[in-house]
């Protein structure tokens, strides 16, 4: 938890709001422990001695106090984390190129170091080149980099030379994308952006392009030619639902003229290509309703053959 807070503040520093934080920490020294600590941490790393100063320790303590939970544990975690950072810094200072790829968290902290040292460097002009060189030539003095630039200008080759060293090659990270809180492609924003993209277009440059444009605007019937084009409702129901309607008449009398009649109706319906499935069902329902209403009359002549079974209700 506390580490997270630290990291968040580091991010804030990176994002440019460090100035505000730093000043506020000076003003409210002792009050806002977290801010205070940041200030201390930086100073510590800026010294790059690998030690944790007393001041920092007290700051960590105050943070640990402010965070509920195991106080000692938090304190230890914080200090360990800080130590790790300082080690990484001092390690990378000694080498021009860090051999180990630092973790993302380390990099973030590195960046805060860089920002701070750069600021101090400008102010004091003291020899801190070792630290700064680590953080690429961003901090080099103008003269140096100009030399580098002119020397390098002639030998630039496309796709050669050092890279940014941020991302890993894709083979290692072939893990599927982390599912987000929502599906971006289903939002209105995505739809609107697509619309805008489609609108800003040049006139078609040949007849095929024009037909593509029309297809995208849903003005042209789509290729390949399909007799069922545009039947959006029908696409949802299967062929069998049109043809096999026997399950719909399961509750009709088992035998007798009503059965005979309704079977003929079903045969007729199953051959009818013009009605939708729901219309066919409705048709059968109407007869069901009708025969049920007339049941008292029919019973007199047909007897059991007019009785609808209750158990085998339609599916």
């Amino acid at each position: 938890m506390s580490i997270r807070i630290l990291n968040n503040y580091c991010r804030l520093l990176v994002a440019g709001s460090w100035r505000r934080l730093a000043t506020s920490s000076i003003c409210q020294k002792g009050k806002d422990s977290a801010d205070n600590k940041i200030n201390k941490k930086e100073r510590n790393e800026d010294n790059s001695k690998g030690e944790i100063e007393e001041e920092l320790k007290s700051a960590v303590k105050s943070v640990a106090k402010s965070i509920s939970g195991d106080e000692k544990q938090t304190e230890r975690d914080l200090l360990q984390q800080l130590l790790k950072q300082t080690k990484v810094v001092s390690h990378s200072v000694s080498e021009v190129k860090p051999t180990t790829t630092p973790t993302s968290r380390d990099l973030l902290v590195n960046m805060t170091v860089k920002r701070f040292t750069e600021d101090q460097f400008e102010n004091k002009g003291k020899s801190r080149i070792k630290t700064t060189r680590n953080n690429n030539e961003n901090n080099r003095s103008g003269q140096q980099s100009r030399l580098v630039r002119e020397g390098a200008r002639t030998k630039y080759e496309l796709f050669e030379g050092p890279d940014l060293g941020i991302f890993d090659p894709p083979s290692k990270q072939s893990a599927p994308a982390v599912p987000g809180e929502y599906d971006r492609t289903k939002t209105l924003r995505h739809k609107l952006e697509e619309e805008i993209r489609a609108k800003s277009s040049t006139p078609p440059s040949n007849a095929f392009q024009e037909m593509i444009r029309w297809t995208e605007d849903e003005k042209l019937w789509t290729f390949p030619i399909n007799n069922e084009a545009g039947m959006k409702e029908e696409a949802k129901v299967g062929f069998h639902e049109h043809v096999f309607l026997d399950d719909q008449i399961a509750d009709f009398p088992r035998k007798g003229p009503i059965r005979h009649f309704i079977e003929l109706v079903v045969v007729g319906l199953s051959k009818n290509p013009y009605l939708s499935v729901s219309a066919k069902h409705e048709h059968i329902n109407w007869f069901r309703q009708y025969f049920k209403e007339k049941e008292p009359v029919l019973r007199e002549t047909l007897g059991d053959a007019s009785k609808f079974s209750e158990t085998a209700q339609k599916v």
Binding site: R4, N8, R11, L12, A15, G16, S17, S104, L107, L108, E118, N138, G142, R146, V148, R149, A152, R153, Y156, E157, L158, F159, E160, G161, D163, L164, I166, F167, P170, Q173, A177, V178, G180, E181, Y182, R184, T187, L188, R189, L192, K199, S200, S201, T202, P203, P204, S205, N206, A207, F208, M211, I212, T215, D217, K219, W221, P224, I225, G230, M231
Partner: protein, 660 residues
């Protein structure tokens, strides 16, 4: 003819698609047959280790076949652009008529659309099956009224931003409950259209003449707008809401607001979308205090992107390069660009042309930058067949051509660029950029290439793809004179007739080119014909103007005195005495119509022509004219007449007086 060709293509397409049904049945039959054969043959092949790799299914959409067919068609340089009617009377050649015609067509469409919108009742009859909703008159009136969620949804659906905002404030006043989904949709709408009603849709013809390819510079997002208020009102600030508002702010170039919201997101551990990162990298860093700070912001965001478990895409790096392009004056920007490209290579991402456009921006930031990066980039595109998406990539070609003609002046690069641009139909993009592209290309060719090649290119692009302007004509005639390609002048002249507006600017150029040297008979005759048509046109123009009751803006042919002198020279070179005399007398009779001072040599050659044709009176007239205008060589001409011609006494006396 071309119309019928177009229709033939369509007929073929129609037949193809109709037949595809029959094919499919016969094909499946074939396949069955083949598999049976294979089964029988398998025992023989069992010894071999060859493995059958079944290719992955390629998903096909309704436009797949059309796209495949479209890829077989290239721009025909002999036909006008597709949006113009392919008829000699109806297709324009100059830039201005082209623009007028295209915009007239769009205006016609707009008029029809207006009628459809005004009178939807006439357009309700719909016999189409399947239904084509796109041609139904658009709904302009709201179905629902009053402050409720349904009404708000309707306004969102109809993209009425202003009305939706008004309705939302009403709903808020009445303290009604609105579902989160609707609120988020409203936020999406507000952020995408930047709190304004969507701009009126342009037709394709209008887009290429009216749209500007400008890079965003000014902040368009207003602080404390409806979107921001809505965001504050949201009961639960979800990831979607945050991502939407940050994207909207970044796109509106309110980078400070966007960055502070982004920091809020990080603080509250809200996942940031890849698209949001893209917008932040491209636009959110615009107002950074220094280039140094900007780059560190960009790298920090890239780290954060990785932290959140996202994989960078081509778009990510395009945005990074775009951010670098806007800090091109920074001393290390080239270095960063190369690093970014190396990173892309590492990740196996092929840069797009818009990436390269930013690379060029960085490498050729100052006018004296002489890097060979352009050559490398163009060679790379040429060999690697980087996908070119038509007019979207016009910016790259425009930029590359501009940088090339400013710094490297390499004809090979320019030619490759032009070939690529034409092949991939980049030239159907915004016309202004296309004409600058071609102007630069053509001027470069005129300066550094042989006239034969220049004319080869000229024949391909004039008049349908591009038409020369005055400055390009100047360069062209310079090249003609340098390489003595005078034989091309008659052709250039006939092409010029397409565009009478420019004729006055360039006519004197043509004349002076033609008058430079004497040519072999056939060519000289053609030149004389041109000269004759010019002088007769001038005379008829003057007559027409004199018959007009009141002066109006009639575009008459304008010639200078030098030009007239050159015309005389041309006629003399072609041994056409009558024509030369006509030009001379026109000049003598209208002394105030021609600006400037005529040149001497023209008249000496005219005097010689008079001597050859034994016309003493005319020769004396010319000499008198020469003396009056104080032209050199007057005396020598007089001496020539005196010695070489048989003159009457009066003429001799007159000449003698003239000498003194």
């Amino acid at each position: 003819m071309a119309t019928s060709m177009k229709s033939i293509r369509k007929v073929i397409l129609w037949n193809l698609s109709k037949k595809s049904r029959h094919f499919s049945t016969s094909q499946s039959h074939c396949n069955r047959h083949e598999t049976e054969q294979l089964k029988r043959e398998t025992p023989k092949l069992s010894g071999s280790t060859s493995e059958i790799v079944i290719p992955n299914r390629i998903p096909r959409g309704p436009t797949s076949i059309l796209k495949a067919l479209a890829s077989t068609v290239e721009r025909d340089p002999n036909a006008p652009a597709y949006y113009l009617v392919d008829d000699p009377y109806l297709y324009p050649t100059g830039f201005i008529p082209k623009k007028n015609y295209a915009l007239s067509k769009a205006a016609g469409k707009r008029a029809a659309k207006h009628i459809v919108e005004q009178h939807p009742e006439f357009f309700q009859n719909d016999t189409s099956h399947p239904k084509v909703e796109a041609f139904m008159p658009p709904k302009t009136e709201y179905q629902t009224t009053g402050a409720n969620e349904e009404a708000l949804k309707e306004r969102i659906e109809m993209r009425r931003v202003k009305d939706a905002i008004a309705l939302y404030t009403e709903i808020k006043l009445e303290e009604m409950e609105v579902s989160e989904e609707t609120l988020l949709d409203l936020l999406d709408l507000l952020c995408v259209y930047n709190n304004k009603d969507p701009p009126e849709e342009l037709y394709g013809e209008e887009t290429i003449y009216l749209s500007k390819h400008n890079r965003k510079a000014a902040k368009t997002w207003e602080d404390f707008t409806a979107a921001e208020k809505l965001f504050e009102d949201l009961p639960r600030k979800s990831a979607r809401a945050y991502n939407t508002i940050v994207t909207g702010m970044a796109k509106g170039l309110a980078s400070e607001n966007a960055m502070s919201k982004y920091n809020e997101m990080l603080e509250n551990r809200i996942p940031v979308d890849l698209e949001t990162f893209h917008h932040l990298i491209e636009y959110g860093t615009m107002t950074a205090d220094s280039h140094k700070e900007k780059w560190s912001l960009v790298t920090a965001m890239l780290h954060e992107l990785k932290n959140q478990g996202l994989q960078p895409t081509l778009e990510t790096f395009r945005c990074v390069l775009s951010a670098l392009g806007s800090m091109a004056s920074h001393q290390n920007s080239t270095h960063y660009v190369m690093k970014t490209l190396a990173e892309m290579k590492k990740l196996g991402i092929e840069p797009s042309l818009s990436c390269f456009a930013n690379v060029l921006d960085v490498f050729y930031n100052k006018p004296n930058d002489r890097s060979d990066m352009l050559k490398k980039v163009v060679d790379y595109i040429w060999e690697k067949k980087v996908p070119i998406n038509g007019s979207d990539d016009l910016h790259f070609f425009f930029l590359a051509m501009m940088k090339n003609s400013r710094t490297l002046k390499d004809v090979e690069i320019a030619t490759k660029l032009e070939v690529l641009a034409r092949k991939h139909d980049v030239i159907s993009g915004p016309v202004q950029y296309v004409s600058v592209f071609y102007s630069l290309y053509f001027k470069l060719l005129c300066m550094y290439d042989t006239i034969e090649h220049v004319m080869e290119v000229y024949n391909q692009i004039v008049p349908h793809i591009w038409m020369l302007n005055t400055e390009e004509y100047e360069e062209l005639f310079k090249a003609v004179e340098l390489y003595e390609g005078y034989q091309y002048i008659p052709q250039i002249w006939s092409d010029m007739q397409f565009d009478l507006m420019k004729l006055n600017d360039i006519v004197n150029l043509v004349i002076s080119s033609m008058a430079k040297v004497k040519h072999e008979e056939q060519l000289q005759n053609q030149f004389c014909d041109i000269a004759e048509s010019l002088i007769s046109r001038w005379i008829s123009d003057q007559q027409f103007i004199s018959t007009m009751r009141r002066p109006s803006r009639y575009l008459s042919l304008m010639l200078t005195a030098t030009g007239m002198g050159d015309l005389i020279t041309i006629s003399c070179n072609g041994n056409r005495f009558n024509q030369a005399w006509l030009i001379f007398s026109t000049m003598k009779d209208n002394p105030n119509s021609f600006e400037g001072v005529p040149s001497g040599p023209a008249f000496t050659s005219l005097v010689e022509l008079c001597i050859q044709n034994n016309k003493p009176e005319q020769a004396i007239d010319v000499v008198v004219y020469m003396c009056e205008h104080g032209l050199p060589d007057g005396k020598t001409s007089i001496e020539k007449i005196q010695t070489q011609m048989s003159l009457t006494d009066g003429q001799k006396e007159y000449l003698g007086r003239l000498v003194n």
